[in-house]
Amino acid sequence: AQTIHQWPVAEIKAVGSPLSLGCTIKGKSSPNLYWYWQATGGTLQQLFYSITVGQVESVVQLNLSASRPKDDQFILSTEKLLLSHSGFYLCAWSGQGASAETLYFGSGTRLTVL
């Protein structure tokens, strides 16, 4: 069975500080990977997707970056946090093929920027 693990569970960070959120998928070879973000009271927005190691596509520009250093790992980061980065971050995976595949989500990271 496939499992998806996100870390950390929650973070409280200062404006201007760096951030790194991680996501690991086990039990699935070559998954498509996604980062989503939801501001408090907002709609879930797709930030990035990756269909293979080393390749990441940006969907929404939020002064964040993503990397896929290994087949089963997806990292979301920034060198300087903004207040507007606060919210709930979700990592997801799907099987190979086009976007018409079932998404499976991790448990999320709640980020508070002060």
């Binding site: 989503y36 709609t43 797709q46 969907v59 709930f88 079932t102 998404l103």
Partner: protein, 108 residues
Amino acid sequence: GDQVEQSPSALSLHEGTGSALRCNFTTTMRAVQWFRKNSRGSLINLFYLASGTKENGRLKSAFDSKERYSTLHIRDAQLEDSGTYFCAAATGGYKVVFGSGTRLLVSP
């Protein structure tokens, strides 16, 4: 622009009754997925449809890509069905767009 319009934004049901949630799309979507938000904020899969209808227990979903909508029907609602439900549509090219959610409250 907004591609998924989900309604209603909030819904109150008495136990044992039923209703439908709906998502309208501004463009043709390849597939739709319905989720329920759990207590921690993550999303639990309910249905994935590329076309037609699917049923699971007291839930039934339909997707019509030509008419650009999807529905989620809940029948015989139970207290534990309370929560927030989302639709998400695959636009193509690995992009998936979410609706704004429906907050369902089931009361005795």
